[in-house]
């Protein structure tokens, strides 16, 4: 057991921190939001240049073969800088499907575009009725000749507006809430029958509702077993949850720093409000919540490698619970301690709060994961 970063990890951290320190202050971020799709192609290219988009892919696939700790480092840094670019959607989620389930041909076709930053992806999973259950899939993929015809609606697809390629879950057999009979398909975003309605999300990212009407794809579109891809979906989504935990830690870390700075300088009644014990104790409680979240982010990263699938899933669910609780407390108190200024769009802190809020309800909220941990018999 060793919590220190290796030399390489330290270099990676310096690299991403340095890049964001230069290129991603709050004012620049406002400009990036106004670019097409709500994020900056320039930043995306820089991430590619520094190899960050190829991080988790194997060397033979053109990547760096990095592991969970490296993703944690990157996501935490991105949280700290409130990064808009679609790293989660493209590298973690869609890249994850290709890494864990993709055929050699699929990898060859798609990974280079991800790694060199020329293509972005989106993962179309959420349906109107599915909420947090990954196995609840009404969108259908019906066999037609060698290929498939996809019909259905997907909602709140992160980066869905902008993506070149979509990774879509669809049912090939069984009833809407059956665990088997689910497939994962690669669909070009410009395929016939794909309609996208894009919009900004509450946290300033962009998403889309996407309709698939008789969308035809070839036999090579299915990633993994089209009759039984749920284990693959669960694995990849678990990795996304781990990445979100790390992002949230970055967000909370920066929220606390910003808040402490603010109450040190903001004066009321002739003194800095940070001299009031009740605010000091609140900030201390935020620190406690942050450190507990940081621990669980590390735990989740560690858990990705657990052999026992149930233990792995339960551990990651537990991390999402802790992150959800800590994020809510830290986010809300950061606003409270800022007072009125925290309520304005002009102040940075509100944007952290909003992103933290959205993370809580992405891929399962606190209650949902609490129930999963309970039903698995707990952690002890």
């Amino acid at each position: 057991m060793d919590f220190d970063l290796t030399e390489e990890q330290r270099l990676l951290k310096d690299s991403i921190d340095g890049l964001l320190a230069d290129a991603y202050d709050f004012d620049k971020r406002k400009l990036y939001m106004k670019e097409k799709g709500g994020w900056s192609q320039g930043i995306w290219s820089k991430l590619a240049e520094q190899g960050l988009l190829g991080l988790p892919f194997s060397e033979e696939d053109g990547g760096f073969g990095a592991g969970g700790v490296e993703t944690m480092i990157v996501m935490e840094a991105m949280g700290r800088a409130l990064v808009l670019e679609p790293y989660l959607a493209t590298v973690v989620l869609s890249g994850g499907f290709l890494r864990h389930g993709g055929s050699a041909a699929q990898k060859t076709a798609h990974l280079p575009g991800i790694i060199d930053g020329s293509k972005t992806f989106a993962f179309a999973q959420l349906e109107k009725q599915s909420r947090y259950d990954l196995f609840d899939v009404a969108t259908s993929a019906k066999k037609k000749g060698d290929g498939w015809v996809i019909d259905g609606e997907k909602f709140v697809v992160l980066n869905g507006e902008n993506a070149d390629t979509l990774i879509v879950t669809a049912r090939t057999a069984g009833g809407q809430r059956d665990r088997s009979g689910i497939g994962v398909f690669i669909v070009p975003a410009d395929a016939k029958g794909v309609t996208r309605k894009g919009y900004p999300t509450q946290d300033g990212l962009h998403a889309a509702d996407i309709t698939f009407t008789g969308v035809e794809v070839g036999s090579d579109a299915a990633i993994g077993d089209p009759a039984n891809a749920l284990p693959l979906i669960e694995r990849v989504v678990d990795e996304a949850r781990i990445a979100l935990c790390a992002e949230a830690v970055g967000l909370m870390d920066e929220s606390l720093k910003t808040t402490v700075e603010y109450i040190k300088t903001r004066k009321q009644f002739g003194v800095a409000i940070g001299s009031f014990q009740s605010l000091q104790h609140r900030a201390s409680d935020m620190f406690v919540a942050l450190e507990q979240a940081r621990s669980m982010s590390m735990f989740a990263t560690m858990a990705a490698d657990f052999d026992d699938a149930k233990e792995r899933a339960t551990s990651i669910a537990a991390a999402k619970v802790q992150i959800g609780k800590s994020a809510k407390f830290v986010g809300q108190q950061a606003i409270q301690l800022h007072g009125g200024i925290g309520m304005t769009m002009e102040a940075k802190i509100g944007h952290y709060f909003k992103r933290l809020t959205m993370i809580e309800s992405t891929f399962g909220d606190t209650d949902y994961h609490m129930r999963r941990v309970s039903e698995a018999g707990g952690l002890i």
């Binding site: 959420l126 309605k197 509702d209 009125g340 309800s361």
Partner: protein, 396 residues
């Protein structure tokens, strides 16, 4: 001690409720239910209906148009209004500057302003907070200098609610710069159309525009626009802030929102059953309902007790209203967030269009959650409220 509403009180509740049913414009109600912003016109239209009925300035002395209701009647009226829901009378006019004018203003001022306030012929806003003043209101810097028969006003106010609609402002200005903090402040009213007044919107984290910065650059104001005595403005401000005691709990608002939560949670499914049947969601909702019921009773105790403690010595329980009231409001918005789950994310997809489908107004849920963070900050933050309880009630 008789803890039931009297027959008369129950009849009054029915009367009020029926009046709302018959008179609140349906569109206004729908927007309120869905947490949307109302247009200025929609608000003013409704307030004039209310004023025509004689209920626009219900708590004013009867000589100025008030109703002479008991405090329990006021309570019932407000609760029903919030719960229907319909917009409450514009506080800046009716609850704030109105009472200051009829209490401290001269006859001319009363005649000039009060009827216009009651009928919302003028939309008023409040010029108290300044950048840097926050909870320490008395540190304000906006100054009014006397020049001939004019006040020349320079400075900046902030958090000025709905100033974009306002015709008039009541303003705390420093008129004696040499006096100590609370001294040397005067209460001056003037037109927002005056030359030198600039309103700059503040966009809040929910994306809304409720508050503003207001700049005064050599604004000329007639000398007779001073209310009461020069340099006594701080007393009037304290009087004004002290009037707002029980409304702050917003029990009716929270009740209405809980009804909305139940409606929505019965429709939306999670894990194959309505969210409303999820035990842990249900427990959180029930816990909130219990706290709200307790708060309602606490409020009734304060209401029933009003006047008995005398001015400046309110019922100790009244300090509870702001803290619990704001916590419960925030909890209800959190519960709505939980109900809607991943569909909280889309920002303003459908704008203010008129479609009636569920998903249409759910884009308001996250903004409402964000927006409601303010209720534990403004009107004396909950930290300040705890200071007040510790000092004024517990003697610490």
């Amino acid at each position: 001690m008789d803890l039931a509403f009297t027959k008369e009180e129950q009849a009054f509740r029915e009367e009020v409720r029926q009046f709302f049913r018959d008179n609140v414009p349906a569109e206004t109600r729908r927007k309120m239910v869905e947490g949307r912003h109302l247009s200025k016109d929609e608000m003013v239209t409704w307030w004039r209906i209310l004023n025509k009925k004689g209920w626009g300035v219900s708590h004013w002395p009867t000589e100025y148009g008030g109703t002479g209701w008991t405090s329990v009647q006021h309570y019932i009226f407000n609760e029903e209004l919030q719960a229907y829901p319909a917009p409450q009378p514009l506080a800046f006019g009716v609850s704030m500057v109105g009472p200051v004018i009829y209490t401290f203003g001269n006859e001319e001022q009363k005649k000039k302003y009060l009827p216009r306030i009651a009928n919302v012929d003028d939309w008023w806003c409040q010029g108290f907070s300044e950048p840097g003043s926050g909870s320490d209101l008395a540190s304000l810097k906006t100054k009014a200098e006397r020049r001939g028969d004019k006040w020349i006003i320079n400075g900046q106010k902030t958090w000025t609610t709905l100033a974009q609609h306002a015709d008039m402002i009541f303003c705390l200005c420093r008129t004696d710069p040499s006096a100590k903090k609370q001294m040397g402040i005067s209460f001056i009213v003037f037109s927002m159309k005056s030359k030198g007044v600039t309103v700059r919107p503040i966009q809040t984290i929910d994306g809304g525009h409720e508050v503003n910065e207001v700049f005064f650059d050599d604004v000329e104001v007639p000398i007779e626009n001073l209310i009461g005595e020069e340099n006594k403005g701080w007393d009037y401000a304290k009087f004004l802030l002290g009037n707002e005691r029980t409304g702050i709990a917003r029990v009716g608002v929270s009740k209405e929102r809980i009804r909305r939560i139940k409606e929505l949670a019965a429709k939306i499914e999670a894990g194959g059953r309505p969210v409303l049947e999820d035990p842990s969601f249900r427990e959180k909702l029930t816990a909130c309902e219990v706290e709200l019921k307790a708060l309602e009773l606490t409020q009734l105790r304060v209401v029933a007790d009003e006047g008995k403690h005398g001015k400046g010595k309110p019922n100790p329980a009244s300090s509870v209203l702001k803290i619990k009231g704001s916590e419960i409001q925030q909890t209800t918005t959190e519960l709505l967030m939980e109900v809607i789950g991943p569909f909280a994310a889309p920002y303003d997809v459908h704008g203010d269009d008129d479609s009636n489908e569920t998903m249409d107004w759910t884009a308001q849920i996250a903004p409402s959650y964000f927006n409601n963070r303010k209720v534990s900050i403004y009107g004396g933050s909950n930290e300040i409220q705890r200071n007040i309880i510790a000092k004024a009630v517990l003697g610490l």
